[in-house]
Homo-oligomer: 310 residues x 4
Amino acid sequence: MAVTGVLRPGHVVLRVLDMDEAVNHYVNILGLIETGRDAKGRVYLKGWDEHDHHSVVLAKAGKAGMEYMGWRVDSPATLKKMAADVQASGLATEMSWIPAGEHLCTGERFRFTTPTGHVMELFAEKDKVGNGMPNTNPDPWPDGLQGMSPTRFDHCLLYGDDLDGTVKLFTEVLGFSISEKVVAGDGQFMIGAFLTCSNKPHDVAFIRNADRGRLHHCSFILDNWYDVLRAGDIISKRNVSIDIGPTRHGITRGETIYFFDPSGNRNEVYAGGYIHYPDKPTIVWTEDQIGKAIFYHDRKLNEAFLNVYT
Amino acid sequence: MAVTGVLRPGHVVLRVLDMDEAVNHYVNILGLIETGRDAKGRVYLKGWDEHDHHSVVLAKAGKAGMEYMGWRVDSPATLKKMAADVQASGLATEMSWIPAGEHLCTGERFRFTTPTGHVMELFAEKDKVGNGMPNTNPDPWPDGLQGMSPTRFDHCLLYGDDLDGTVKLFTEVLGFSISEKVVAGDGQFMIGAFLTCSNKPHDVAFIRNADRGRLHHCSFILDNWYDVLRAGDIISKRNVSIDIGPTRHGITRGETIYFFDPSGNRNEVYAGGYIHYPDKPTIVWTEDQIGKAIFYHDRKLNEAFLNVYT
Amino acid sequence: MAVTGVLRPGHVVLRVLDMDEAVNHYVNILGLIETGRDAKGRVYLKGWDEHDHHSVVLAKAGKAGMEYMGWRVDSPATLKKMAADVQASGLATEMSWIPAGEHLCTGERFRFTTPTGHVMELFAEKDKVGNGMPNTNPDPWPDGLQGMSPTRFDHCLLYGDDLDGTVKLFTEVLGFSISEKVVAGDGQFMIGAFLTCSNKPHDVAFIRNADRGRLHHCSFILDNWYDVLRAGDIISKRNVSIDIGPTRHGITRGETIYFFDPSGNRNEVYAGGYIHYPDKPTIVWTEDQIGKAIFYHDRKLNEAFLNVYT
Amino acid sequence: MAVTGVLRPGHVVLRVLDMDEAVNHYVNILGLIETGRDAKGRVYLKGWDEHDHHSVVLAKAGKAGMEYMGWRVDSPATLKKMAADVQASGLATEMSWIPAGEHLCTGERFRFTTPTGHVMELFAEKDKVGNGMPNTNPDPWPDGLQGMSPTRFDHCLLYGDDLDGTVKLFTEVLGFSISEKVVAGDGQFMIGAFLTCSNKPHDVAFIRNADRGRLHHCSFILDNWYDVLRAGDIISKRNVSIDIGPTRHGITRGETIYFFDPSGNRNEVYAGGYIHYPDKPTIVWTEDQIGKAIFYHDRKLNEAFLNVYT
């Protein structure tokens, strides 16, 4: 098969302080679809065009942030093989198997912690619930969409200390490519890496930061730049805390707007970006152009954007 | 690696009746970039965001159509392995190795004919010429673009007789998925198959047809629906022969417009479409909904669209 | 005042064969808002961004078509003056005053028939019901919009015989400009006139035709080309009879799609177009370019578009 | 006529510090078209879809700002009448007639100073040079456009002290409507007024400010939100000083981006906005919602935006 191994970001578990407020935000404003609640009180959500049972899980906690992120691999055999590879790599810590069913509608998951302190999982099985339309003669979009109605959970950007270790783990063990990176000093010191396991410009990104295991934002994909405008309108109509945008990223070329959920987790909705292939040269951004790399239009460092994370 | 094997449609060689007219069409109107001419008089072109030396080759001939299509694989080792697999499959005919350099800036190619009569090639090496911007601190698009300025050659739709054999070859030997198919009769008789080796909704498609080895259209990708409008405007401003559009496809959800090059080869420019994964259910279109499948808005069979090909 | 006299198309009364089907079409699919029903069973509708009580009235009848069209003038004084001018012109027939209240929430109307056989009205007063948002600190769009949700009723295109007489009435008596016209033969024989009383490219248009008093289409305005795509999607999702589009008009440059209500009245939703001023030269289309004038992209005469009207 | 009196902003004369830099900015980056230079060294420019000879004049000066703004009226008779009305109003000062030909291709102009200290002109005649396309069978846009290529000069926003006097002059003498206003304190103290003589949401706006006769920005109109994105990209590609955007205004609903010319004059490019009619209620923004009024998405006062002007 041409698309193999790690297929995509399969889920992100977000810690939220107040579940009702969080559900209102993610369902009515962002526009995800609730697909279930479990005995632990976790709420399962998906973007309308995702076929899997869930891609976002909200978990009540005393403090915001990302609990873990899960990656869908192509088969149970790959799951076993990759788990062994991760173990053999010596790059991961706190490894364990989570039994099937611990997440609703999901098979067993192999959990590990990256050198940047992020808990990650690999899994091969999750029930398909469809995208709200039949698989025979479907329309292009379903009725009844709400809010910004992104099609899919797209990626997370994460902050942590041992960036080199995590990049090594994702590229050498999990098969990701570096689509873009930010370098400092003499150009050899990597401070940010944008990693892809697909034709998307990124599936996850990491920024070097003294605090370990942190979430900068989780991102959802929209169809186009008008949807980004509409997202901005909804942010204002619903009094959501905005961070920055609409604007374009230099990195990935994506069209973007950032805002916060009621717990303070940063969300992005995103459109555009190029088609990545593994033989495409890695784009390098130098530290002096970091403003342009992040926010292409105003080319300015924004301290809150860099330093506020959960 | 997560994206492996056959990476993408790497080139299409189009037969054109008059080279000057063809170059005018593909460069000034469609907006590809000329990257070279060879001793046989062939003209090499690429979309602006493609890094490889070329993706379209124009070859003077007495009759329009597609001479062959080439597929970029991830490495010389994969090329050797896939060539052997194709040979072992018993599904391909007229197999041969084309030496490196026969195409400008391109390594050796393994050529074969599919059961539908289409000449296909696999290759692993082509020089990178870049996308008109530096790999360090690039802007999102280069200056000096012309015409419709698609970012990339995207796919071909091909007509031929032994559809089942070709689909078997692409899925079982070359690792493609069937993203969508059209079925007739009792639902078991496949009359069209949309195949992908990537996260794109299709990289090539085949329609069952008595004539072998035919080209319905070759398609180029645009960023958005406004670019499709602009393409329509350019078609009219430059007196290009239009086929149909702007409209949306039911199949792939793509936003599209069709037109003809001066030799009668059909071109498409295309935007939108979903993100495909190999575990996504195949979408099935039944014969009675073929109108909606092809042209979602007017839902009508268009005889010229179905029966005009080169 | 700088915008004076006839301000805008204030209402169109459409004959429909089945009121429930018509209301479903105009409210749930087109996305107008119902504002009232009167003792005669007529249903009053408006686009969401119109402040007046209604702009479309559906009236049950045995035969589709336009019953009449009403024009909002700037004041009761102008209404009196213009009624007198119309009477004095000798160009109108069947003149009468309709008392206030005959339409819900509407003042008295001066009714007359144009030389092309169309019943027109002038009126100065209609209750303001607002656009669903406060006049203090409003958002840019209200919640709860449905269907294509055009902002406003925009114009009608009408067919009739004495085109010269009607154009003379609109330009010399009612103060309209000719923004564009279509001419035949030696260029002196006008077969179509696009008339504006505003900065819009047209507020009404007339095509020369042997049948008198006919409606070709009534049109509603959308914000942009993506809304035209979405309208096309809704047409297909809801099995509405489509006529043609999405495409661009040569005349007005508008981005358009045409479809039919369940009674067979043609509707258009429309975006774009230029800003008109009365000193802008009239654009002239010659008969040989009529295809391009009407449908800019495919530049073809479409017999159904020309010959189907109500 | 239905559109009468003052038709539109006909020209703005901008003071620039370095003419070559200014021409490069307004022609190559903003994308206006140069139509002439006069003996005083002034450079005349127009948006591509304007038919008049010029709408922007660049004049070398020691200090940036707006020298004056000119308004096109519908006829020489109206010019005489309005000049008399302005004189009789007692609201204007420093009145004079500028002879025909002082501006290239322009008739005589009646000049006066508003209570806010802005020099304004009325004129009735300027040569038509067309929009780069024939008036017979035109395409929707011409070839060879550069930069952001706005269609027209749209409006200015001006700062000055006697806001009430200027609003009285524009509404009571020149026939403008107040489309939107910003009020402070008990709601009776107007601090901003958006004035229109057309169906556009504004043709000029004034903000109360201690300094007299100042320019906040001059604005040019684009077709759509994608053009605003492209403008943002061009700003960054060409290292233009950006102010803020892309974003939406609460006032007018317009989609916008702001930047500076090399002399420090603020420019805006703008798309969208509603259709105004003189009977539409004035929208009122209260001081506590001023952030949302100006920048709808982030709803924050931006000191630089408010306090930087020329």
